[in-house]
């Protein structure tokens, strides 16, 4: 048939590290409806919109933030939360520098799913390293009806050695802190690479073959 023999035309994903025009790539994952998009918008636009669309696949926002007086361009990838999309979403994991795990404190299942999301992410990120920069966000603390206590969530995070933040995208509690902690952490891990960027800003693709860039 037409398809069977032909090689796939799709290249195997973008090589994020190669043509990096951003300094950090952060990805936010977690179960459906925990408020990933809201957190992201609260952080980037300082606004809480009530009527979000479901995120299918991924959507991306960027923000420049200052870490230790150094401007840092962060690209944040927002992903769809439905289990089924996980195989598709993992395409987006590539080249991440930091990962934000989100759950909803009023939804026990979303907390229980953290393990899966984390493992799935670590499996896809090569090389697999346990101390990959991560933070956990327990969202929706503005709602009274909690199903996951602060103690349980903190314990889980402590065991995995991940910083834990109780946040509210709606009331803008702790959101920026969580993002900035992750950014700093990612920065420390990749300090070496990052410094080569700063000292040699013209050599944008230090270890790749030179690419023609259109300006």
């Amino acid at each position: 048939s037409l398809q069977s023999g032909a090689p796939p035309l799709i290249p195997q994903g973008p090589s994020m590290d190669a043509s990096k025009k951003v300094d950090l790539k952060i990805i936010i994952i977690g179960a459906l409806g925990v408020g990933k998009t809201s957190l992201l918008h609260q952080y980037v636009h300082k606004r809480f919109y009530e009527d979000y669309r479901t995120t299918l696949g991924a959507s991306i926002l960027t923000k420049v933030l200052a870490v230790d007086n150094t401007p840092l361009k962060v690209q944040i990838w927002d992903t769809g939360g439905q289990e089924r999309f996980r195989s598709m979403v993992s395409t987006f994991y590539k080249g991440s520098d930091g990962c934000m795990l989100a759950f909803d404190v009023t939804d026990r299942e979303s907390f229980e799913a953290l393990d899966n999301w984390r493992n799935d992410f670590l499996d896809k990120v090569i090389p697999r390293e346990q101390d990959f920069p991560m933070v956990v966000l327990g969202n929706k603390i503005d709602i009274c009806d909690r199903q996951v206590s602060k103690e349980i969530a903190s314990a889980w995070c402590k065991e995995k050695d991940i910083p834990y933040f109780e946040v509210s995208a709606k009331n803008n509690i702790n959101v920026a802190e969580a993002f900035e902690t992750l950014a700093k952490q990612a920065l420390v891990t990749y300090k070496g690479i990052f410094e080569s960027y700063l000292t040699d800003s013209i050599k944008l693709t230090p270890y790749d073959k030179p690419k023609k860039r259109c300006c």
């Binding site: 048939s1 037409l2 398809q3 069977s4 796939p8 035309l9 799709i10 290249p11 994903g13 973008p14 090589s15 043509s19 025009k21 951003v22 459906l32 409806g33 009530e50 009527d51 979000y52 669309r53 479901t54 299918l56 696949g57 991924a58 959507s59 991306i60 926002l61 960027t62 690209q75 769809g80 939360g81 439905q82 089924r84 999309f85 195989s87 598709m88 395409t91 987006f92 299942e109 929706k140 503005d142 709602i143 009806d145 709606k170 860039r213 259109c214």
Partner: protein, 748 residues
Amino acid sequence: MFPLKDTEMGASTFFASALPHDVCGSNGLPLTPNSIKILGRFQILKTITHPRLCQYVDITRGKHERLVVVAEHCEKSLEDLLRERKPVSSSRILCIAYEVLQGLQYMNKHGMVHRALSPCNILLDRKGHVKLAKFGLYHMTAQGVDVDFPIGYPSYLAPEVIAKGIVKASDHSQCEKPLPSGPKSDLWSLGIIIFELFMGRKLFQSLEIAERLKFIIMLGCVDDIITVLAEEHGCLDIIKDLSENVIALLKKCLTFQPSKRPTPEELLHDSLFCEVSSVYPSFHKPASLFSSSPRCANLTLPEDISQLCKDEDSDYLAERSIEEVYYLWCLAGGDLEKELVNKEIIRSKPPVCTLPNFLLEDGESFGQGRDRSSLLDDTTVILSLCQLRNRLKDVGGEAFYPLLEDDQSTLPHSNSSNELSAAASLPLIIRERDTEYQLNRIVLFDRLLKAYPYKKNQIWKEARVDIPPLLRGATWAALLGVEGAIQEKYDAIDKDTPIPTDRQIEVDIPRCHQYDELLSSPEGHAKFRHVLKAWVVSHPDLVYWQGLDSLCAPFLYLNFNNEALAYACMSAFIPKYLYNFFLKDNSHVIQEYLTVFSQMIAFHDPELSNHLNEIGFIPDLYAIPWFLTMFTHVFPLHKIFHLWDTLLLGNSSFPFCIGVAILQQLRDRLLANGFNECILLFSDLPEIDIERCVRESINLFRWTPKSATYRQYAQPPRQASDSNGTRSSMSCFSADYQEAPQSDLVSD
């Protein structure tokens, strides 16, 4: 809906109760405004069609939770009869009562209670027949919960209604919701109205409202309510002259204990109406378009056929349904708010007079109490058809009764249709706002749809010109080949038993096209839930993928009052355009689809394709929501309508062309940018000119060789052989005598 005939269209207005500032529901999201709840509940009223009920047509939201309701209206009412101050005869009273009961019985059958029956709401048409008005107010306001005014008129309230007291909507304590009134409360009101009719004047006029209510409650202590009422109003002598039937009727209506009072249904079949009932033919609900029952079963020709071709100046517009006339009225520049302002129903105060005296930080204001008397205005403003008639004055009778030519017909085209074809070349956006053009299209499609499935081919042909927005729901269903017993099929699906997908659906619905008033109403959410669940339950081999909610939205919006049709359309759409996309493991289907899409980009735009490949901007990163939801996730509804009007005429390869057309519209920006800018651009798809997109995708489609879009996992073509065994049993379906129309978008 029935034709407008000699009734009018009227508009009336009221306010929904405003929600307090900054109060959130249990999910942390703001509460749905009451006006949206009412708007959602109103929709079902449009389907309640009965000669004794004023047809509801539309509802719109204005500022400050104002609602404007459009319904059929007559100028005269029982109020006018009372104003003549002459007693009404017993026989006339019995007829009026019987007709009111017919109306009440029909609405009770649909689970509704009037609760505001009064002489001013019992209208009389030109022939003197009863039409009940405002019968949906109690229903649409959730038994009065969503408004700050009481529903009903003091003199006519049944004692049990008064005894319950008024529940103030502001105390949302929800501790104890009062039971809603039942159908029997309306009978008490009818009893009082009948009393007034034979008396020739109104009751309780000398009593203050509080006294009036007290008096009615006190009637529970008397033996003979009718005599007490008559004594109080000095009309014992009139009582004596009343026919036995009227007295019997009064006694039944004015029974103090609701448990002993009959229902409208029971009273309608009471022997006292023996004589009257024989005059009234029984009412048959006209069969709907997509149902298994024969649509012509109850057709009757007039005795004298020549009556059908009346004289020259007959009023063709009045033969159209109220819904159509209202739609055209709006197109011809009708503006509800303006009509109400002109009649001083909507009065605006100078802004300086509405400043609050005291403001809290959260926006709550004090010192300017709302004038509660203006919350409900009983006046109905008649919407004049002058402007519309003027607009249509050159439209001949033949436009209302177009000849449906067969494909082989050699009849010459009339002049008017030539003019129309000139109009057909105008941009779609202009055609959709042109009163005369829309009239022609609506009449034509209405007739074609009535002849569906027989006229299927012609519907396809006309749909290629355009689809009139008013009839889009039915037209889409016809294009998707929906037929058969859709309601029965839908009813047979278990939509109540909990399933694991429930939670997922529950989370997705409040995020799906919520800018739309209908879809964001609680009623809309419930319908979403039903249709999505029905689909999941009835397709065990497929699963719910996020995005299915978006896919459901256009069908639900267009068939808001017909869940079965929305479900049937969605079920027909998915195998045609999204075959196996909703398999639990759909990766092979999606991967192949995206690969073919990459090929299509390369085929039609090599330069763009090279650039996108070079920067690694693959379709996996942006096109999954496009195709998985057939663009319903990325475009608002009004754009989807125009996109799908054409998509439905194409085959399953057409979406590729739409995708390429979108990329081409953004071509310059994509070419000029690298990966990061491109991915940002598609994160929030920029404004796309949808008409241009449609035009270009048709072009692309014509230039695409079929082999280029070949997919191994596409829906296999239907085998001709498997139809021979089952053919006879389902011969009423069009698929047996005509295959799907061949009018591919390619052929011209």
